[in-house]
């Protein structure tokens, strides 16, 4: 039986403690004061003014006389190379007070301008979102580890996979973790619905009330899907389906161990996995819309669910690689060798490229079409967040591609560990860039809340997964494909 070594356990407790302190600091810090100290806040705005002074001037005329134009007409008037700036200009160049007037004057003009002004209007409120957003980024990052492992485990049964039969206990241990981040997300959602924070634009007070100054016609039009009770019901459904799937797969797996030699519950597991995968196919997309895409509630992308899923899956595969490497080095998995690691490495390599494909597909269509209501999403991401966005794509595509493209590299633990480290950082940044521009705008940073949240969850992750790994033998007794897994070679 696997026992989490005392020093690792100590490290995990230290991480949880340090993370909790970091989160506490993040939550108690005065957000306005912090934003003032933040190098990214005001300084970045000033920079923008200098960079685009000419554009801002040119745009001035439009701001006065063309605000009520439709977005399309507006974009056509502006020369092609400044169209991009025109769409995003209000966010970058106008102060909050001016925007408030603009909203009042053009309340019905829900063009790209209206959109950008709405975001700008609650820019001041957004700084209070910072610790909650940091918590959400880390919850989603760590959620991906758990749900990706559950998905991967279900795939093993449905595809009748043989090679991984000796690894199912590791997948199970990670998949059960899914409940912790899900519960934290539920807490964040309930806090949002009670206006404790304003991460989700559509949860703002009065945003769907025609008589409120906060009224937003576009968001009100989505109230059939984006409303409090349905949102909570969907989150509860994710908890039931995702954790339920992980729990039942684990339960049957343990029950199988107790059966006489030669008997198994494989068929039952397979049916269960098939049902889970059908439900997950739907909930993976809807959860991405709910938790992440609805932060930028005006914007939508039909690819978003798949893009999020691909990122989550590859993050989980990377974590599984690292856990398997750790267990192998400790001598806990003598029946696993370079051939199994090679296959896990292939998954990491392949799904890094798959993620890039989806990320780029979403980006390129929006970039090429240049429709104002779509490009707003990438304005901030290719503006203030550009260094992180570029770094993130390099870490998530170029690094794993070049490190793992050769066959030999996928069989060397050092290469896999190195690639895993970079991909984990890259996908943390990916989730950061998905969430932060919409929830805190330019008041982002890497402070106590972000780092603390990460440490807190990683400590908990080590404790929970370590406990799950130790709760049962690391090898299933009666899995029908165990022999195939032991003999597996390539």
């Amino acid at each position: 039986m696997f026992v989490l070594p005392r020093n690792v356990k100590f490290l995990a407790y230290a991480l949880v403690l340090a993370g909790a302190v970091g989160l506490a600091i993040g939550f108690t810090q005065d957000p306005v004061a912090e934003a003032g100290h933040d190098a990214h806040g005001t300084a970045a705005v000033a920079d923008h003014h200098n960079d685009h002074a000419a554009v801002a001037d040119a745009h001035g005329d439009h701001a006065v006389d063309a605000h009520a134009d439709t977005a399309g007409a507006h974009a056509e008037e502006v020369p092609a190379d400044t169209a991009v700036h025109a769409a995003g200009a209000p966010t970058d160049h106008h102060g909050p007070s001016e925007s408030h007037e603009a909203v009042a004057a053009h309340g019905d003009a829900h063009t790209a301008h209206g959109d950008a002004e709405m975001h700008d209007a609650h820019h001041v409120d957004q700084s209070g979102n910072r610790p909650w957003s940091a918590l959400l980024v880390n919850s989603i990052f760590f959620l991906s580890l758990g749900i990706g492992a559950t998905f991967f485990l279900a795939i093993q049964y449905v595809a009748q996979v043989g090679w991984s039969a000796g690894l199912t206990r590791v997948f199970e241990a990670v998949s059960l973790w899914v409940i912790v981040p899900l519960l934290v997300i539920l807490v964040i959602a309930i806090a949002g619905l009670n206006h404790v924070h304003g991460i989700w634009h559509w949860m703002h007070e009065g945003i769907m009330d025609v008589n409120s100054p906060n009224y937003d016609e576009i968001i009100a039009g989505k109230s059939g899907y984006l409303n409090g009770p349905f949102f909570i019901a969907r989150l509860v459904a994710y908890i039931v389906i995702w954790f339920g799937g992980a729990y039942l797969l684990r339960k049957n797996s343990l029950a199988e161990d107790a059966l006489p030699k030669g008997q198994n519950l494989w068929k039952k597991q397979r049916s269960l996995s098939a049902v889970f995968l059908v439900l997950y196919a739907v909930t993976s997309s809807t959860s991405a819309w709910d938790i992440i895409m609805s932060i930028d509630a005006h914007w939508y992308s039909t690819l978003f669910g798949w893009y999020t899923f691909a990122g989550m899956f590859v993050t989980s595969i990377v974590a599984l690689n690292l856990i398997v490497i750790y267990l192998r080095l400790g001598g806990h998995l003598p029946w696993i060798n370079a051939n199994h690691q090679h296959d896990l490495g292939k998954f990491m390599f392949a799904f890094s490229i798959f993620w890039t494909y989806l990320w780029f597909s979403q980006y390129m269509l929006i970039w090429y079409a240049n429709i104002p209501e779509e490009v707003t999403y990438y304005m901030a991401r290719f503006g203030e967040y550009k260094p992180y966005l570029i770094t993130m794509v390099v870490l998530n595509f170029l690094v794993p591609f070049l490190l793992l493209v050769s066959r030999d590299a996928k069989r060397i633990l050092g290469f896999i560990s190195l690639a895993s480290f970079f991909v984990l950082v890259g996908h943390w940044m990916d989730h950061y860039i998905m969430i932060m521009p919409g929830s805190v705008g330019m008041g982002y940073g890497f402070g106590a809340a972000e780092i603390g949240g990460f440490l807190f969850f990683s400590g908990l992750f080590i404790l929970v997964v370590g406990r799950n790994l130790g709760a049962a033998p690391l090898k299933q007794h009666n899995h029908p494909m165990l022999k195939e897994s032991e003999l597996f070679h390539q």
Binding site: A80, D81, A83, Y363, M364, W367, Y368, N370, S406
Partner: protein, 172 residues
């Protein structure tokens, strides 16, 4: 059939792929040089059992990919930026970098095209597979349901081949 080897060859026919695999391992363990194995289909693990060198086609493939990428970067740069810039969808094409996202699909296609095609041609050339080449197969039955091991002649080679399950042995 003559080969460049001066040593005479012995050819043994088998009727089962597992037996062939076991025979190759046994022969090599006994110090017999296995020159070639003929089979109607690929036998898993045979390359390792024969002690063949790892293929270097992967490295070649990577180089072909880089060649393809370089080619298409040059083509797009010359055509779309230098020679005949066009305003497509309002995208400024003053620099290649600004327009890069529009080129990514064709960058991918040409990289894959070069890799795949040049790999296939490399494979053909290395294996001497070209039209009009005289058949190298000593026994047509190995294209149907029989397997053949070709070894260098030596002491007790025939006995050893019989022991490993050969159903027919000929001296070349």
């Amino acid at each position: 059939m003559h080969t460049t080897d001066s040593k005479p060859l012995v050819r043994a026919l088998y009727d089962d792929d597992d037996v062939v695999l076991g025979a190759v391992k046994e022969l090599r363990a006994q110090g017999v040089a296995v020159k070639e194995v003929y089979s109607p289909f690929p036998i898993h693990g045979l390359d390792k059992a024969m002690g063949l060198k790892d293929t270097r086609i992967a490295m070649a493939a990577f180089m072909y990919g880089l060649l393809g990428l370089t080619t298409i970067v040059t083509i797009t740069y010359f055509q779309m930026i230098v020679d005949w810039p066009m305003n497509i969808g309002g995208k400024p094409n003053a620099t290649w970098g600004w327009n890069m996202p529009a080129f990514v699909p064709v960058l991918f296609e040409l990289t894959v095209f070069f890799t795949a095609h040049l790999m296939v041609w490399t494979f053909f050339v290395l294996n001497g597979l070209y039209p009009g080449r005289a058949p190298q197969n000593p026994d047509p039955r190995t294209t149907d349901d029989k397997f053949m091991i070709e070894v260098e002649d030596g002491n007790h080679v025939v006995d050893l081949l019989k022991k490993t399950g050969a159903i027919e042995i000929t001296h070349a």
